[in-house]
Amino acid sequence: MARWERLVWPASDFSRVPTGIFIEPEVFEREQERIFQGPVWLFLGLEAEIPEPGDYFTTFGGVTPLVVNRAEDGRIHVFVNRCSHRGALVVRDLRGRQSRHICAYHRWCYDLRGSLVGTPFRRGVEGKGGLPPGFDRREHGLRPLRVASYRGAIFASFDPHPEPLPDYLGPPMRRMLDRLFCKPIEILGHLRHRVDGNWKAYFENLNDSIHAGLLHRLPVMLGLWSNTQEGAIETDPLGRHAHYYVKYEEDDSALMGPGKSPSGQALRLADHAFIDARDEWGDRVSTDTLSLFPNVMFAQVSNFLITEQIRPKSAEEFELLTTVFGYADDDPDLRLMRQRQVAWLGPAGYVGIEDNEAGNLIQRASRGQSYAHSYIGYGGVGPIGDTDHLVSEVSVRGFWRYYCYLMGYQPQDGPPLDPATWAAEAVS
């Protein structure tokens, strides 16, 4: 039996997760085929990064290098960054503007749709060499992916017939994105870091709201967080994504500026600039995050607006690419506020640092323990659905259920996994 198959899921409510899922290389390889190159939509970036025809950036779908570019007709095309000739990387930089992509190795030339348009020495030199007479360029383009955008967020799929993107997202997720991308945006910068952990441990972290007040002590010490705050976690009908939000208190006491510091703080800061926030949407939502299976979080934390793309590198390493943006009509004060609030997230952010640490702690403890299980029970076991409170890790179980379905894992104590029944279970 293959090693990936020896990992056991004892509970059909996914309250127990086999530890080997975080460290086994075989599991990682299978994820690339079954998930990242499977029937999912992968988040790749924002349209605002490539506003003009010819603009491109390189990224990853799972471990596979991809090129995302805008063609002359304004449409976005995504292809595998691998020359169809001898398999070399075609585009070698992070981003730029080009009318053609030319492979450095043998100068095969592709247009912005990934079609092969130029091959040197096609007829050889003085009648010798060259490509065979029947060579058809149309059969040698770059491998294209399906592409769809939602509100300027670019997604692609290796599956030639994925479900429509709006359906894949589901209504609560679309509402979150409608709010986050409510007007034209401007990219402010990128932050990247590599975590010596497994990408799924990070996804668990995103879908677990209970850790927020436990691992992250600073917001508690500053009186900015309590587990009794108004908030909720919503999922899509299949329970694979999670939308999580928290609201400021009615009296706005959490919207602190200098001089507005609440009493009873366990930690006294000399300068509150990074806590100073503005209710931009007029809905008192202080934190609004969306984790979409399998590779992205969208977030508004105070006025810090980001996408966070998860890039698995191996079973033991992943990279996070944080894209920070504001709105095109930001006033200078708001822009400064967004920059100050980097204190929370990213490689040097107080919350980001701790989430990365948690990912590594799981990694270090998993070695040699492939057949042990972790326990997920907050918010109850049993059916997977929405919760109207934050003391929950239910949506972590939702992540694992869809993961197992794609990977071909079956829980030991229940019927075969059938997504058609999940929506009804959540309601009951």
Binding site: D196, A273, P347, A348, I353, N356, E357
Partner: protein
């Protein structure tokens, strides 16, 4: 050592020029350049010794500290991953590190070199640039690796308190940070 590797006799013209332009200094008296170099070395040693409480004192009251990925800067974006605008914010950062933050304790080792300083627009102010490499040692594993490469770009003021940064930017070549960057570099 063979004769072929022996150092050639110094060229008198070059030697005279070298005296005028001490390494890392354009026309400033040697003493000032030496002071600025030592200031920067002391800065690195302060962080290497985990004397974080002393770190804000290297800055003027309104001195700023930023870590900016070069990846952003090269595209005209100054977005910083650490952004502190004054000494109070620097002190707060240290307070949070000490009292609240969960992170991997690592030992840091700054190698600072290629220092250039120039008299700034105002007297008593100097513009400073230096290259830096920071090694991090995992205290549990005991292994060291290059954690960050980049350059310091700053402005130093000489006043009654000695030298202080009125601005210090670390332009970080290492775009993809190894797990986390809790401590200033």
């Amino acid at each position: 050592m063979s004769a072929a590797h022996a150092r050639p006799a110094p060229d008198p013209a070059l030697a005279a020029r070298a005296q005028r332009l001490t390494p890392g200094n354009d026309g400033e008296p040697d003493a000032a350049a030496e002071q600025l170099r030592n200031f920067l070395y002391d800065y690195g040693h302060c962080l290497d010794d985990d004397r974080l409480e002393d770190w804000p004192a290297f800055f003027a009251e309104n001195g700023s500290y930023r870590i900016i990925p070069r990846e952003n800067l090269d595209r005209g974006m100054t977005f910083a991953l650490m952004f502190l605008e004054n000494r109070n914010q620097l002190r707060d950062r240290v307070l949070v590190i000490r009292k609240a933050l969960v992170y991997a304790p690592r030992m840091y080792c700054h190698l600072i070199g290629s220092i250039r300083c120039r008299q700034g627009a105002d007297s008593g102010r100097f513009d400073l640039r230096a290259s830096c490499a920071v090694y991090a040692t995992d205290i549990v594993e005991g292994t060291s690796k290059l954690f960050a490469a980049g350059r310091y770009d700053g402005q130093v003021a000489a006043n009654a308190d000695g030298l202080q940064f009125t601005r210090l930017d670390l332009i970080l070549d290492t775009s993809s940070v190894d797990r986390q960057m809790p401590i200033p570099l």
